[in-house]
Structures are given as C-alpha cells and as structure tokens.
C-alpha cells in the first residue's frame, strides 16, 4: 500500500472515532429524555399519530408495534411501485414494475437491506424514489434504532415489565437523529456536485459522436438527473445503501469527488459506531460501549488491510495482458476494473470494507470485479452477521447477542452463571440469542443451496466457474444479513431470485429482531445483580478478545466450506 493510502486510512479512522463520543452522547440524551418533557413540536407529532407518549410497552406490544409498522410500510411501498405509471412525478416516463420486483424491492427497503434487482435511473420514477424509497430509508433505520434502545433498556432497567414505547423511540430516531444529519449531508453532497432537481434528464451534444452496439451513429448523451442528494444522504446515514443510480456510489453524480466519498464513507459507520457509546451511557458504564466498539474496530481494520492489499496487488491476469499495475505518482495502479479513477484503490477498499461491515451495501466500486480475496472480505463481513458496526441499531443489537453468547461460553469454561452488564444470562436469553445468531446463517446457506439446485438460476450468473457460484453465495449472504450489496453481475431480476431473496431478507431481519425484543423483555424483568470480585469484567481486553474470537469462530465455522468452494478456490487458481 502507498504512504498516501495509509494516510487516508488513518485519517478516516481518526475522524470516525473522534465523532463517536459527541454523537453517541447526543443520541443517548435524545432517548433518555422522559416523554413528558418533550418539546412542543414533538408532542404535536404524537397527537397527530394518536400516540400516548407516556404509555410504556411490554416486549410483546413493542414487537407487535414494530411488525405492524413495518407491514404497513411494506404495503404502501408495494402499492407505490406497482402503480408507478399512474402516479405523478414521472417526467421520464418510467414503465411499470413487475409484481415480483415490487415484492422484492418492498421487502428490501423495509428490512434496511436495500438490495436492488433493478437499475434506479432506468426503472424508478422520481415519485417512487422519493415518496416510496426515501421514506423507507428513514423508517427502516429508525425501527432498527428503536429496537436497539429497547434492548439497552433491558440492561439498564430492572424488575419491570416494560421496555419503552416503540412509536416514541422510532419517531425520535427519525426526527432528532436521521433527519438533521441527512439534511446537512445532502447539502454538503450537492456542494460537491450531486444533483438535486425535479427536471427531467438533460441532453448533451456529444463532442465526439459514437456508435451503439448495432453500429448506428449516436450524437446525443441522455444524462439522467433527479432528486439524488436527498436520497443518497439517508442511504448512507441509515445504513440503507440503495442507490439512486444503477452504479450506486460509483456513479459520478452519486459520488462526485474524493470529499463526497469521504463524507459518505464516514456516514456509513458513523451512527453504528456512535451507538456503542450511547449503549455505554445508557447502561451507566461507558467502558462497556468502548469494549464493544473496540472489538468491532479491530476486526474492521484487519479486514480492511486484507482487502486493500489484494486490490493493490491486482491479478496475474492483468499483468499478463500487458497492463501496468504499479502504483506511481500518476496512477493508483492495482486492480482498476470496476473502480473509478478519482477514488483509486485505497478509497475503493475502505468503502467496500465499510459498506459490508455496516449493513449498508452501497458501493463505490464493483465488488464482482474485485480480486478473489478482496471480494472475500466483503462477503465474509456480511456473513459474520452484520455486527462489525452493522446496521443502524441492528448492528449493535446483533453484536450484543454475540456478547451474550461470549459470556455464556466464558461462564461454561469457569463453571459460573454467566452475567452481562449486571444481568444473569439464563436459558431463555441463550435460546433467543442462538436463534438471532443462527437464523441469518441458515437463511444464507439454505438459500444458496436452493438457488444452486434451481435450474433457472444458472442463466443469471454472469461469470463462469467458482465466481458464478460466488455471485449466488454473495446474494443470499447479502439478503439474509440485510446488507444489500451484490456481486452485481448476477441478474437477480427474475421471479425466482426476486421471491427467494425477498423472503431471505424478511426472515433474516425479523428472525433476528424478534428474539432480540424477547431478550429485552426478559432482561428488563430481571433483578440487577451487584458487581463482585467474582464477576467477569466485560469491559477489558480479555473480553474484547473473547468477543472477537466468538464472532470469528461462528462466522468461520458456518461459512468456511461455502467460502472454500468460491473465493478461496478462485484465489488458489489465480496464483497457481
């Protein structure tokens, strides 16, 4: 890696970690303020929505509210997409959307996955992008944050039956955290060159006429525009990832400059990282938050190093073909297929690692064209369960599930009842934690297996051999863990993939979310036990190491055989 590359990585990590404390503290204040003391405008929203802000919910009611809300979001989005042609704000006359694509997209956006089986600028009207997709970008992230806050209350409270109010938590996430940050980011992105307009596409007279693949002359360039910045800001901050354009943040309009790229990479991990600090504040022991954040950061930095190294090394095939892959003052060198010149290798590697560590899934380079081990980093980060930072809310609640598993294993080793943050971890919590950890793994593996048996899926693969299989494994790993990035050569807009991936996203999201709410409820009901000299500390380096080991072991044991058939064998073939 180049010196400048290392400098950019160091700068990125420094700014990210410097923002954790102020933002984390702010988020904690938002959620710790008693509902009765809310300012007037917030109370107006509660009045309009018919919400009694002081009513506390049991875990069952909380789960029900979350499900009802997401189901309503699903129906609305499905209807908007299905009737796009009859709705306003369609200046470029986008056509109808098939029912299975509408199902897939609705499932994708309510689960914070934002997998896209379609190309945005050639499929979606401005209305669908704005009123359909942007709304769920906010609400799926806000739902995830609400459920995390409920889980944190499970630790912070004791001997009570309630874990907060879903509507209050969701509304506060959207109003106080996501909306202001998005507004600021959107304007910064427009400043850097991102379009924000309702006019139809622009038409340019080409400087040098070209030919299409049938050989007929073309003298004009149709330049797709739209309300891009407002959607892209929340796409990054809400760990959504669904692009305005097909090429996502590789598109120069969706990521015009190195600065826009930096701001977006920062936004990828910003809220998930800050929530660790919020966690520490709310449970009354900030070291607990730092410990979880440390575990995430260590895995992240290590895998980022792997990805950047292999992308910079490029492939023997490029060398053999006669391309100059060396880095110099005038060229980033490396594996530039699917990458943009303005970002070069290191920013493509940071972005790819951050977007799959977080359950974001937007891309600034095409992961399908990464080197085998560079691509493996993205694939494996998703398969770890989207807990290395992970989604807004969902990342940390997933990581806490693994922390519960870690203290349980430690408890078994020393023969004591496991405890985490002054709460005894017993059979019920362990059952729920196992479900939350294993359901996405099962969905990813079974989904891949079914797709490989299904005859029609072979035609969807864009690359032959192990890489084509890798595209399918990537798709189901992405869907089951609600990431949304793709080895995009796979043509997923078929009835089989739209339905199976849609189901994988729904099962992966709610199969993890509902057990977590159950854990929140049972923890809140427990007594808070005092810390004694016999309590295993969960804020020190030993616990951080244990947590990392549990995460990596479950991830490696579950997926090693599947990975061996894909990127690993591909790497061995490459170097032979």
């Amino acid at each position: 890696m180049t010196i400048n590359g290392l400098l950019q990585i160091a700068f990125y990590l420094t700014v990210l970690l410097a923002l954790v404390k102020p933002l984390g503290l702010y988020i904690a204040k938002v959620f710790m303020r008693p509902a009765g003391e809310a300012p007037k405008p917030e109370k107006w929203i509660y009045r309009i929505c018919g919400v009694n802000e002081s009513a506390e919910m049991s875990s069952k009611t909380y789960a029900l509210a979350a499900i009802v809300f997401n189901a309503a979001g699903f129906c609305l989005l499905f209807i908007i997409l299905s009737f796009q042609t009859a709705l306003p704000l369609n200046p470029d006359g986008m056509g109808g959307i098939s029912w299975h694509l509408a199902f897939n997209t609705a499932a994708s956006f309510i689960t914070n996955t934002n997998w896209q089986s379609y190309g945005g600028e050639s499929t979606m009207s401005y209305f669908s992008q704005m009123v359909g997709l942007t709304v769920q970008n906010f609400l799926s992230a806000a739902s995830g944050m609400a459920i995390l806050i409920a889980l944190i209350r499970g630790f912070a409270r004791h001997s009570v039956e309630t874990i907060g109010n879903f509507w209050v938590d969701m509304i506060r996430s959207a109003v106080y955290i996501l909306l202001p940050l998005s507004l600021m980011l959107a304007l910064a992105l427009v400043w850097q060159g991102m379009p924000q307009t309702f006019t139809p596409h622009a038409t340019a007279q080409l400087v040098e006429p070209t030919k299409d693949d049938k050989g007929s002359a073309v003298t004009e360039q149709m330049i797709a525009l739209g309300p891009v910045a407002s959607q892209v800001a929340i796409k990054q901050l809400g760990t959504n990832g669904g692009g305005y354009f097909n090429a996502n943040s590789a598109h120069p309009f969706e990521n015009p400059t190195p600065l826009s790229n930096f701001l977006m990479m920062l936004s990828l991990l910003l809220i998930p990282a800050a929530l660790c600090y919020t966690f520490g504040v709310m449970v009354g022991d900030r070291r607990q938050g730092w410990a979880v954040l440390a575990a995430m950061a260590i895995v992240f930095v290590f895998l980022l190093g792997v990805c950047a190294h292999y992308e910079q090394s490029a492939t023997p095939m490029l060398v053999k073909a006669g391309a100059d892959i060396r880095a110099s003052d005038g060229s980033s060198g490396g594996n530039t297929e699917g990458k943009e010149v303005r970002f070069g290798i290191v920013n493509s590697a940071i972005y790819a690692t951050a977007t799959t560590a977080a359950s974001n899934g937007s891309v600034n380079a095409m992961h399908d064209s990464f080197t085998p081990l560079g691509g493996l980093v993205s694939l494996w980060l998703m398969q770890l369960g989207e807990i290395i930072f992970g989604g807004v809310g969902s990342g940390l609640y997933g990581m806490i599930v693994f922390a519960i598993v870690a203290v349980f294993i430690a408890g078994l080793m020393v023969g004591r009842t496991p405890e985490y943050i002054r709460k005894k971890i017993e059979a019920h919590e362990m059952k729920m934690a196992s479900l939350a950890a294993l359901i996405p793994i099962m969905v990813a593996l079974i989904g891949t297996a079914v797709a490989l048996i299904e005859p029609s899926s072979k035609a969807s693969m864009a690359n032959p051999g192990a890489h084509g299989y890798g595209e399918v494994l990537y798709a189901f790993s992405s869907a089951a863990n609600n990431n949304g990035s793709a080895f995009a050569g796979l043509n997923a807009n078929t009835p089989f993939f739209n339905i199976s991936l849609g189901l994988a996203m729904l099962i992966g999201r709610f199969g993890c979310m509902l057990p977590v709410i159950a854990i929140a409820g049972s923890l809140a009901a427990k007594k808070s036990i005092p810390v004694t000299s016999g309590t295993m500390p969960t804020h020190g380096p030993i616990f951080v190491a244990l947590l990392i080991a549990v995460v990596l072991m479950i991830g490696a044991l579950s997926f090693f055989p599947a990975l061996a058939l894909g990127p690993i064998v591909e790497h061995l073939m490459m170097i032979q």
Binding site: W167, P252, M574
Partner: protein, 197 residues
Amino acid sequence: MITQIRQGVITLAVFTIITGGIYPLVVTIMAQALFPAQANGSLIVINGTTAGSELIGQSFSGTGHFWSRPSATGPLPYNAAASSGSNLGPLNPDFATKVRERVDAIATTGPANIAVPVDLVTASGSGLDPHISPAAAAYQVPRVARELSLTESAIMKLVANNTERRQFGFLGEPRVNVLKLNLDIDNLNSGHKLEQR
C-alpha cells in the same frame, strides 16, 4: 391490536409526508438556491448548447482526442441513462481477452518503452468515469500531438490545466478530466488551423 394498526398507519402517513415530501423539497429548495450549477448536473454549456456534464464522461476513441477509459454500459459506451460496470470476475477468460485486446490496440499508438497504465484498459465501475489517471494522459500525449501536428509541450500544458490534484492534498487520487481536456484541445486546434490559413 386495532390501536397498534391505527397508530402504525397514521405514523406511516405522517412520516411519508415529512421524509418523502417535506425533506426532499427542503433539500431541493436549499440546493437550488445555494448551489444551482451542481444541483442541475454541473452541465457544460457552450454557446447555448449543452456539451455534457463535467462529472459525466463521454466516449472518446478518435484521432486528435485523448481517449477515455473503456465503458461497460449498454447499448452504447458512456450511456448516462443506464450506468453500469462490467462485473467481469477477475478470472473470467473474457476479461483477460478484453484487456489484452485493449492493450494491443493502444500499445501501437503509445510510446514504445512504456507499459499501458492499467486504468486505460479496464472499465470503470459506473461506465461513466469522467477521468483518466495522469499516467494514462501522459501516455497519450505523443499520439495526440502527432495527430494534431502540435508540440508535445503545448498538449502537456492543456493536460496540466485539466489535472485535478488530490483534494486538500491527500484525499482521493490525482486525475485528468477527459471531456474538459478534449474541449480545450478542440479549442486550441481550431485556433491553430485558423492561424495556418
């Protein structure tokens, strides 16, 4: 249950209006007021005609122009209404063939003792990359100068004018905007022809 459904539907409606209506409208109004050029696509307008966007690349492969990177968009390269990368895997035989063909085509036109910079023979992620690396531009300077019967130093000056450095000295990579460079070259060339007459 009924209460939850009522609250859910109303909350969804309220937030559809706030996040799907008010939020994008506020961003649009502020963006159009503060940064109108960027908000409308950073278009390059010459004598009333739109020549392109400075952020969106165009296909250049003719004589007297700097060539842009290969583009994988369909049905024509640099289709700004349907962005796309090639998504070719690193070991795909088609990928190796394509890169070799591009290297062979370019190598005959470039300096004999320098290898072809990798970005010039690989497709970008968007298929709309407006840039090439400074190395890829330097590689093409002798060809362009020869084709236009201009000195290499005159061409190099234009390349330098259209080279963007790393932002703040360290962010991103240095790069050359191909569309803007070629517009400058056309300008210089038409002036040069007038002089000759």
